[in-house]
Structures are given as C-alpha cells and as structure tokens.
C-alpha cells in the first residue's frame, strides 16, 4: 500500500509544513524581543559649497549646492543583536521642508553593523558619506532640518521593521559666496530638460 515514494513525499510535505509554521512563529516573535540601545548624535559644523562633486550620471552635480556636515555619533546598539539578527543597517537621515516639497528625506550616512563588537559606535568628527543636496539644487528657502538616526535590523529569517530614534534639529546656513546666479541658471535649464 505504501511504497517508498509515497513515504518520501509524506515526510517531505510534513517537514515543509513544520518548517513553514516555524518560520511564521519566528517572524512574529522576533520584533517583540526587547532591546535597550543607547544613542547620541551631535553636530559640530555644517558648511555649504557649490559644485565640487562630479557625478558622471548627473549633469546637475556641478552647479548644485552641497552641505557638508561634521558630526559625532555615540551609540551602543549591541543589545539589538539577538538570535535572529543578521545585521543592523544604521543610517542617519536629514529631513526638511522646502518651498515646493512637503517632505525631503536624505540619507547622509550609513553603516552595516554585522556583530556586537561593531555595534558600539564611537565616531568623532565624521563627515557625511553621501552628498547632501536639495532636489532644487540650492538650499534656498530651507532654514532648518532634522538629523535622525535610524536602525533597520535585518533578521536571518522573518519580517523587516525599522526603528527610528532621536532626532536633533540643525540649521542649514546658505553658501555666502556669490554663487547664486549659476545655481538659478542650472535650475531653469534642468526643468526644461525633464
């Protein structure tokens, strides 16, 4: 009545359903595991300059206004590592309102943290890893922004979720060099090109 193939298929289908049930249970439980990370971001300095970076895929990069931040990060995220944490993706965003845009949120720095030892962050006078510039090429009309540290834990298996923590308000000074005009020019040019 039962041959080898039938037994084999029975065993594999049972194993599959057990594994799936386990995966669901693990996915539900993991985000509930408590953690107590400590974190602090302090801003030292923020400067804006115009058109220094060259990006081969972005012709507007030459005339855009860039902000360069100097900040410290002190964080101990080691308590966020549990048995189902593959890595933590830590990133700092700057968000601000601009005249024509409701929300602007830009990642200025990120780091992949793969174990508990790396989870103790102590950065001194770090600069932003990614260029910080506005969609409209200038920071005109933008006075303040918020820096926020986010942690995105990536599990070995299960659900993705995000933890954002503390935000500090910053002020964006405008570049005082007489660079306003080329910026405006580029803006107009770009609009027609889209």
């Amino acid at each position: 009545m039962y041959n080898l193939l039938q037994r084999l298929s029975g065993i594999t289908s049972f194993a599959m359903s057990v594994l799936m049930a386990l995966a669901v249970i693990i996915s539900v439980i993991t985000p509930l595991i408590p953690s107590s990370p400590t974190h602090q971001v302090t801003l030292h300095n923020i400067q804006t300059t115009t058109g220094r970076l060259m990006d081969p895929y972005d012709k507007t990069s030459k005339s855009a206004e860039y902000a360069r931040l100097t900040f410290d990060v002190d964080a101990d995220l080691s308590s966020m590592f549990n048995w189902n944490t593959k890595l933590l993706f830590a990133y700092i965003t700057a968000d601000y309102d601009s005249p024509k845009f409701d929300t602007n949120r830009v990642v200025i720095w990120d780091r992949i943290i793969r174990n508990k030892r790396q989870a103790k962050l102590r950065l001194r006078k770090h600069h932003n890893k990614y260029s910080f510039r506005n969609y409209a090429l200038t920071f005109e009309g933008i006075e303040r922004a918020n820096l926020t540290l986010h942690i995105n834990p990536v599990p070995y298996l299960g659900l993705m979720y995000d933890k954002s923590m503390l935000s500090i308000p910053i002020e964006i000074p405008r570049a005082l060099e007489p660079t306003d005009k080329p910026g405006h020019k580029a803006k107009g040019k770009r609009k027609s090109g889209r």
């Binding site: 193939l5 995966a23 996915s27 990006d55 081969p56 895929y57 972005d58 012709k59 507007t60 593959k86 890595l87 993706f89 990133y91 965003t93 024509k100 845009f101 409701d102 929300t103 602007n104 949120r105 830009v106 990642v107 992949i112 793969r114 990614y130 969609y135 986010h150 995105n152 990536v154 070995y156 298996l157 299960g158 659900l159 993705m160 995000d162 090109g193």
Partner: protein, 176 residues
Amino acid sequence: MDVLLHAKKYGVRSLLLQGLTFLSVLTSAFMIWKGLALFTNSESPVVVVLSGSMEPAYYRGDILFLHNGYTPIEVGEVVVYKVEGKEVPIVHRVMKVHTESETNKQYLLTKGDNNSADDRGLYNPGQLWIQRDDIIGRVKGFVPYAGMGTIWMNDYPQLKMGLLGTLCILSLFSND
C-alpha cells in the same frame, strides 16, 4: 497508450474527473497568486534575489515577500523597482525621497548596500529619479536561500528539462 489503458479500465468519466482535479489545482494556484497580487497591490508579491548588490543583507537565492500598499515610500526601506523600458526588477534601498506638495509625486533615489555608487547608472540615460509607480513593492519579509532552486533552473536549463522529464515519467508509472 497509458491513457487509453486507463480509460478502458476505469471509464472515460474517471479520466475526465482526473483532468478536472488537475485543472482545479492549477486554477486555485493561479487564483491565490493573483489574490495575493491584489491584496499587496504588487504585480509579483514574491521575488527571488538575483544579484549580490544587497549583500550582506540579501544574498542570491533569497526569497523576498513584498507588500506595495498605497502609502508613500519612506527612506531606508528596501524596495523592488523596475526602470521604465527595462525588464529586470532590482532590489535596492531608498536613499533619498522628495515629495512634491502640489502633486504628491515622489522622487526617489535608490542604492544597493553593496554598491559604492547610487543607482543613477542603472536608470535610463539622463534619468535622475524614479517615481512611486516604478516601485513594485517594498520588502516586508524574507526567507534565506529558499529560492535557490529557481536560480539553478534558470542557470541550467538541462536541470529544468530533467526535472520535468522525471516528473512526467513518474506520473506515467504511478497509476494508483
């Protein structure tokens, strides 16, 4: 031959019934897939990672479960998007979001965790941003390496043919 023998032994009715059961299995699978697509608002709610650009978070062969929804995209979310005119879906992280007040249009820039530069080189020439409509879904959950079979079958077509062949032969020989 086998089919004829079967028909002689059990009658045409049983044969038709078998065919019907087979069809109902196929259609219910299709319905579940389409229902999921409707529920998640994503054209393909389950995808397999094909490249290593998101390592060490996602490796080749991991299965991702997507949910698109209707809410705006947030920075830091891992999304799957398709650039207009290109077929291959890409799994990358959103690095910049600008939402226009008047139109609520979102301008997004993505980057792979394992890449040093952002994705502007992957977009169409001259394209600086992707939009909300280009996003197929955001990654909500994942199972490691479970999709490796699909990748092997894509890489080695002989394997696929062999597997199909064995299945056919098995179904011919197991009559009960």
